[in-house]
C-alpha cells in the first residue's frame, strides 16, 4: 500500500531514488539540494538502499563518476543545483553524447554573481542545449513522481538520454508538503531492472566508449542525440500514461488550467504554476477571461502541445525565472520557434520575474496582466518586461 506522509521535495527526491534502486550514487554538497544526498546517506547507512555512495570532491567529479558508473552499465543518481550544475556543464554534454541514462535532481537556484542561494531556473535552463531531458515539478509529489518517470524515459531504448528533474529552491526543496510514497513493488514493475544493451564495462565483451569522431562521423553522432530527443516525445507520453495507470496520478507535457475560453493564458513552470492558478481563479471571479498553463516537460520542448495551446489564446503571457541576455527569457525563444510559421498565432509577451528568490505576488501578476491587456486592446507594449524590479534602488 502506498504511504501518505509529509516531506520536503529534497526528501521526496531521495525517496524516488531509493525506490528506483540505483546501484551507484555520487554527489557533492550544495545548497539547496544537499538534503538529497544526506537522506540517501541515511538510507544507505541503515541498509534500506543497497548502493555505493561515492562522496566525491566536487560536482565535476560527481557527474564524472556517474558517467563512469553508467558507462559500466548500472543505474545511477545524483543531485545538485546552481554553481554545482554549472561546474558539471562540460560533462553534461558528454553524458548525453555517450547516451547514458543518468537521472539528476536539481534544486533550482540562481547563479552568481552576486552569490545567492534562492530560487530561479537559470541553472538548469542554461543547460538546455546539453541534450538532457528536462522535467520541472510543481510540488513535492511531482518531484518524486517525475524522477521515476525520468528513469523510465531515460532508459528506454528509443531514448537513452540523461534526464534532470528540477524543483524550486526552498519553495519546494525545504518546504514540507503531503507526499504519497508509491509501493516498491509497483515501482519495480514500472521501472524494471536496468539492463544496458549498448554501454557496459565488461571484461568478457570489451568495447570502447568515448571515442574520437572525425568530421566524417561527428554530425551523425550528434544527430542520434537529436533523434533520441525527438523519440522522447512519444516515450514520455507513454510513460505518463503507464504511470497514471499504475499510480493514478496524471501528467501531461503541458498542463492547462481554465484555458477553454481564455483570451490571455499565463504560461509558467515549477512551483510558480500554483500561484498562477490561484491568480487565475481570482481573476475569473472578476469575470476576466484568463487561463494558465504549466510546462512539465521542457526538453524535449513540447512544440505540438505549445501550438495546440496557442490556438486557444489571443495573448500568451510567459512568466519565467530566467534570462537569456539581450533576448528575454528562454521560454520566449522556444515559444517563438514553435509558433513562428503558424498562420494564426497569439501575441507573445515575456515577463522576467522572481530571480534569486524574489517573491512573485498578485501585485506583480496584476502588472503583468495590465501589459497583456494593453496588447489585447491593440495598444503598444513591451515584448520583454522585468516584473517586480525595485527601480528605486537602481
Amino acid at each position: 500500500m502506498p504511504i501518505r506522509t509529509v516531506m520536503k521535495a529534497n526528501e521526496a527526491a531521495a525517496w524516488a531514488a531509493k525506490l528506483a534502486k540505483p546501484k551507484v550514487i555520487a554527489a557533492f554538497p550544495i545548497t539547496p539540494s544537499t538534503l538529497v544526498p544526506e537522506k540517501i546517506s541515511e538510507f544507505v547507512a541503515n541498509g534500506e538502499l543497497d548502493a555505493e555512495f561515492i562522496k566525491v570532491e566536487s560536482e565535476h567529479s560527481a557527474i564524472s563518476a556517474c558517467v563512469g558508473a553508467s558507462a559500466a552499465g548500472v543505474r545511477t543518481f545524483t543531485a545538485t543545483a546552481s554553481q554545482g550544475l554549472a561546474l558539471m556543464h562540460e560533462v553534461l554534454f558528454i553524458a548525453a553524447g555517450m547516451r547514458l541514462p543518468i537521472v539528476m535532481a536539481i534544486g533550482n537556484r540562481s547563479l552568481s554573481a552576486p552569490i545567492n542561494i534562492w530560487n530561479d531556473w537559470q541553472d538548469s535552463i542554461s543547460e538546455r542545449d546539453t541534450g538532457w531531458l528536462q522535467f520541472y515539478a510543481e510540488n513535492n509529489q511531482e518531484a518524486l513522481d517525475l524522477i521515476l518517470i525520468a528513469y523510465k524515459v531515460a532508459e528506454d531504448e528509443r531514448v537513452l538520454l540523461p534526464a534532470m528533474v528540477g524543483f524550486d529552491a526552498f519553495i519546494l526543496t525545504h518546504t514540507v508538503e503531503p507526499v504519497e510514497i508509491p509501493d516498491q513493488e509497483l515501482v519495480d514493475e514500472f521501472l524494471g531492472e536496468y539492463e544496458p544493451k549498448h554501454a557496459y564495462v565488461d571484461p568478457k565483451r570489451p568495447i570502447t566508449q568515448g571515442t574520437l569522431a572525425f568530421p566524417a562521423h561527428y554530425m551523425e553522432a550528434r544527430y542520434t542525440v537529436w533523434e533520441a530527443n525527438e523519440n522522447a516525445r512519444k516515450v514520455i507520453d507513454e510513460a505518463f500514461a503507464e504511470f497514471e495507470k499504475k499510480f493514478g496520478r496524471k501528467y501531461q507535457k503541458i498542463e492547462e488550467y481554465r484555458t477553454d475560453d481564455a483570451e490571455i493564458i499565463f504560461v509558467t513552470m515549477g512551483s510558480l504554476a500554483g500561484t498562477v492558478k490561484e491568480y487565475v481563479d481570482h481573476l475569473r471571479e472578476k469575470g476576466i477571461k484568463v487561463g494558465a498553463a504549466k510546462l512539465t516537460v521542457y526538453r524535449p520542448f513540447p512544440i505540438e502541445e505549445v501550438r495546440a495551446l496557442a490556438k486557444k489564446a489571443k495573448v500568451l503571457a510567459l512568466l519565467e525565472k530566467n534570462v537569456t541576455f539581450s533576448v528575454g527569457g528562454a521560454l520566449f525563444q522556444d515559444f517563438s520557434r514553435a509558433l513562428i510559421n503558424e498562420k494564426e498565432k497569439p501575441i507573445i509577451i515575456d515577463y522576467i520575474l522572481g530571480l534569486g528568490g524574489r517573491d512573485v505576488t498578485f501585485q506583480n501578476l496584476d502588472e503583468a496582466l495590465a501589459i497583456a491587456q494593453k496588447a489585447l486592446n491593440g495598444e503598444e507594449f513591451e515584448e520583454v518586461n522585468w516584473i517586480g524590479l525595485r527601480k528605486e534602488i537602481l
Binding site: D50, I54, V56, A72, P203, Q209, T211, H217
Partner: protein, 331 residues
C-alpha cells in the same frame, strides 16, 4: 644456446594501427602497462582480462579510439580531460555492486594528471578506490601541440615557454605528482620509465595487486615534443635515469622517511646505510641527457641555466632523502 622465455606475456591489449607518432614512448608504456596488468590479474584472480581502463583526453586517447575503430582489446572508457580518476571511481563502484572481480586502470598524461585532473586524482586516492592511476609523463601538453604543463622540467622549450631575450624557457621546477600522490598515504606509489621496462613492469604488477589505490608515474619520450630522434626514445629515457634527472623510487603508505630508491645504473655509485640509499654519485652528466633533445638546445648557450637545473635536481633528491653529486661534463 639457452633461450629464455619472453619476460612478459605475449598477449596484446593494445593493437597496432593506432595513430601514435612513430617512436612514441607513451605507446610503449601503455603496451607494457596493459601486459603487466593482465599478468597481475591472472596471478591474483586467475583471469588475465579482469580489468578495464578509464582514460583522460590526451595523445594516447585520440590515437587509440577513432570511431568506429579502437586499438583497445580491453573495456575502455574515455570521458574528458580532467576526470579519468573520477570516471574510474564510478566504474569501480559499479563493478563492486555488480560483483565483478578485477581492478580499474586509470590513465592520464601529465597535463591530465598534474594540472587539470589533479583534483579528481586526489579525490580518488583519498576515497581509497581500488584503482591504479598511471600517469604517462611526456612533460608537456603534446596533444594540443607542445605547451608547458606543471610537469615540464626547468629550462625546457615548449610553445608557451619559448626561450628568448627575457626567458630561458620553462622557468619553474617540475612538479612531482608521485610525491603529491604519496602525501595521500596510499598503499603504493612509484616512478618508472620506459628506459627500464623490467622495473616498470614489476611496479605496474605490484600496483595492480595492491588492495586499494596505487599511483605510477612513468617517464616516456615524445620525439615530436622533445625534438629528439625517433630511434633514441628509449635511450633518452634511460639516460634520464642514469644522469639523475629521473629518479626511480617507491613509496608505500606515505612513509616519506622510508623511500625505496632503485639503482640508476650508468656507473653511478650508490651508498647505502642500513639498506637505505642515502647518497648517489652519478657518473654521467645531465648534459648527456639534455643534448639529445632539441627542447634543451638553447641551454647549451647558457651553462648557468644547466647549473640551475642541476641544483633543482639535487633539491628533488634531497626530498627523497638522498644526497647526490652530479658531475659536470669534462672540458
Amino acid at each position: 644456446m639457452v633461450v629464455r622465455k619472453p619476460p612478459i606475456t605475449t598477449r596484446e591489449y593494445w593493437a597496432p594501427g593506432h595513430a601514435a607518432c612513430a617512436g612514441c614512448g607513451c605507446a610503449t608504456a601503455l603496451k607494457l602497462a596493459t601486459k603487466a596488468f593482465s599478468e597481475a590479474m591472472e596471478e591474483k584472480y586467475g583471469d588475465p582480462n579482469a580489468f578495464a581502463i578509464a582514460q583522460a583526453t590526451g595523445c594516447m586517447e585520440v590515437v587509440s579510439a577513432v570511431f568506429p575503430y579502437t586499438a583497445w582489446k580491453v573495456p575502455w572508457v574515455h570521458v574528458a580531460f580532467e576526470n579519468a580518476a573520477a570516471a574510474a571511481s564510478g566504474i569501480e563502484a559499479a563493478w563492486k555492486k555488480k560483483g565483478l572481480k578485477g581492478k580499474i586502470l586509470a590513465i592520464g598524461g601529465d597535463g591530465g594528471t598534474a594540472d587539470i585532473g589533479l583534483q579528481a586524482l586526489s579525490g580518488m586516492l583519498e576515497r581509497r578506490h581500488n584503482v591504479v592511476y598511471l600517469m604517462y609523463d611526456n612533460e608537456a601538453y603534446m596533444n594540443t601541440g607542445i605547451q608547458r604543463s606543471s610537469s615540464t622540467p626547468y629550462g625546457a622549450w615548449t610553445t608557451t615557454s619559448p626561450p628568448g631575450k627575457y626567458s630561458i624557457g620553462e622557468d619553474k621546477p617540475k612538479k612531482w605528482v608521485a610525491l603529491i600522490a604519496a602525501a595521500h598515504q596510499i598503499p603504493y606509489v612509484a616512478t618508472a620509465s620506459i628506459g627500464n621496462p623490467f622495473d616498470f613492469v614489476r611496479k605496474m604488477k605490484k600496483a595492480a595487486k595492491v588492495d586499494g589505490p596505487a599511483f605510477v608515474q612513468v617517464h616516456c619520450t615524445c620525439p615530436t615534443g622533445w625534438k629528439s630522434p625517433l630511434e633514441k626514445g628509449v635511450e633518452i629515457a634511460r639516460l634520464a635515469i642514469e644522469t639523475g634527472v629521473w629518479p626511480l623510487f617507491e613509496i608505500e603508505n606515505g612513509d616519506f622517511h622510508n623511500i625505496k630508491i632503485q639503482s640508476p645504473g650508468g656507473g653511478a655509485k650508490v651508498k647505502r646505510e642500513g639498506g637505505k640509499v642515502v647518497a648517489i654519485e652519478f657518473k654521467k652528466p645531465i648534459e648527456e641527457y639534455l643534448k639529445l633533445q632539441g627542447r634543451f638546445k638553447h641551454l647549451f648557450k647558457q651553462p648557468e641555466a644547466i647549473d640551475q637545473l642541476r641544483e633543482q635536481i639535487k633539491a628533488m633528491w634531497k626530498v627523497l632523502g638522498v644526497e647526490v653529486t652530479l658531475p659536470k661534463p669534462e672540458e
